[in-house]
Amino acid sequence: MKILKLIYKNLLRHKLRSLLTIAGIAIAVLAFGLLRTVVTAWSYGVEAASADRLITRHAVAFIFPLPYAYKGQLEQVEGVKKVSFASWFQGIYKDQSFENFFPRLAVDPETIFDVYPEFILPADQLTTFKQQRNSCIIGRKLAEQHNFKIGDVIPVTGDIYPGNWEFTVVGIYSGKDKTADETQMFFNWEYLNERNRQTESFATDQVGWYIIQVDDPNRAASVSEAVDALYVNSPAKTKTETEKAFQQSFVSLSGAIIASMEVVSYVIIGIILMVLANTIIMAARERIREYAVLKTLGFTNFHVVGLIAGESLFISMLGGAVGLLFTFPVCQAFGEAFPTMFPVFAVQPTTIAMAVGFSVLVGVIASVFPAYRSATMRIVDGLRQIG
């Protein structure tokens, strides 16, 4: 018989209490894992940003467009490899419900897939996209969610750009890896600009932002400065930054929500700490006389602390393991339920590490007080304790 066996047998002393505590910890770890996954999924764009891409936007705000004429000038800047551009189209597909929302972007078909090599598109589909003015390319996840196929027409009602629009699906791109966003729709910017010319729209010959691919990611800062210097005296001044910084600025708009979710995830850890501490304190109090007997027989404080901390760790780690086990299918189901809101929704290794780390930490902290109390207890006082 070993000390571990005694820990195990002590656990089974109050089966329901142990089971409820383990279940409580499992649910808390599951909630923690889900919340952390939402938080990380929210900022996936930041993680997925490429080091060799810069974004040039209007210096005042992202919503102000930039002249299309900048494209040729940007291509001449030293260190620039390729220049592409995009405009946020928005519009309404079917209705304004959440499930029918997906990003719709007017892009330059000639260059967009060069600057985003992580989007894989068959060559023949790209050729059609370049040739057919009202065509569009959609992501794999978007196609699966709405059952779009090549040849289908996607009708969209314009809001920023009024009117009824129809886009023919000529290609479906897929991501090179899990971090690539497969929920977007790209259509030809010329198609948009043509209509803008007809309606004498404010956005005629304007683009939303430029995507600049640089030769060397280490020169990103100097290229950014050179680009912005070109337009410092222009009515449409630019602000150029790395794609990561650009994505970060979007994420920071939801900063309060993300921060509150992070706080809630840590509060959950605090709650499970209280639940477990309560269980362990109760168990240790009930067994104080037994600990005194063990000490009388020659067992040391180290053994007694080991019994208490071992039981606490066993419960917290078992609960954590069960919770973590359920986190994967729950997160998968959650991600599938909201594919366009979270293009990438996967439990990250850091989340797993945090859940494991917190399980261990909670187990240790919950046992500190009862272990200290039992270790410092005088044997004669413990023996007087009534069961």
Binding site: M1, K2, I3, K5, L6, K9, N10, L12, R13, R289, E290, V293, L294, K295, T296, L297, G298, F299, T300, N301, R378, I379, V380, L383
Partner: protein, 225 residues
Amino acid sequence: MSTLVEVKNVTKVYKRDTMEIPVLQNISLDVPEGEFLALMGPSGSGKTTLLNLISGIDQPTSGSILVGGTDIAKLNESALAKWRSNHIGFVFQFYNLMPVLTAFENVELPLLLTNLSKKEKKQRVEAVLSVVGLADRMDHYPKQLSGGQQQRVAIARAIVSDPTLIIGDEPTGDLDRKSAEEILVLLSRLNSEFKKTIIMVTHDPHAAESAHTIQHLDKGELKSN
């Protein structure tokens, strides 16, 4: 016979807040090896306190206690724990068995602190359970045993590591007459057959009759019989 336990001028004072409560006053006592000593006295006379001091689970306020030549009042906590595991076997009034462990596992507990092999431990546990007459109950849990049987398991646990001294704190106090008699016979046998030195606290004059010597404590002072 040589002296196994030497209690010299021991005083024990408990402190409750600012109040000092003297429990033992200048006690001196010699217990020879192979002795079976009964300590008697009314409640609050200091019997259990003296027993706790001799067994090293409490420390005297002043004086010295030598057991087998070791001044246990000078040992630190971990040294004292090791000393207790090697030299003392305890029998409590309320048995104090681990409810989640079988009789075998309860008896095996003190051996977990030794370097004996698994086989040696098993042999020892089975041997002492046979001595106390419970060889056929080793897989039973305490709640499946009567009070007398539980106390016999406790005695087996006390002798399994072959201690120098067996300490009994009212070992028959919670038992019916018949079971108490069986325990006293067993203790006498351990003393006579296995040459174990026993110090037993009891209220019961009949239990004290099993001992060779009876010492009376009253108001913290020892009064020889």
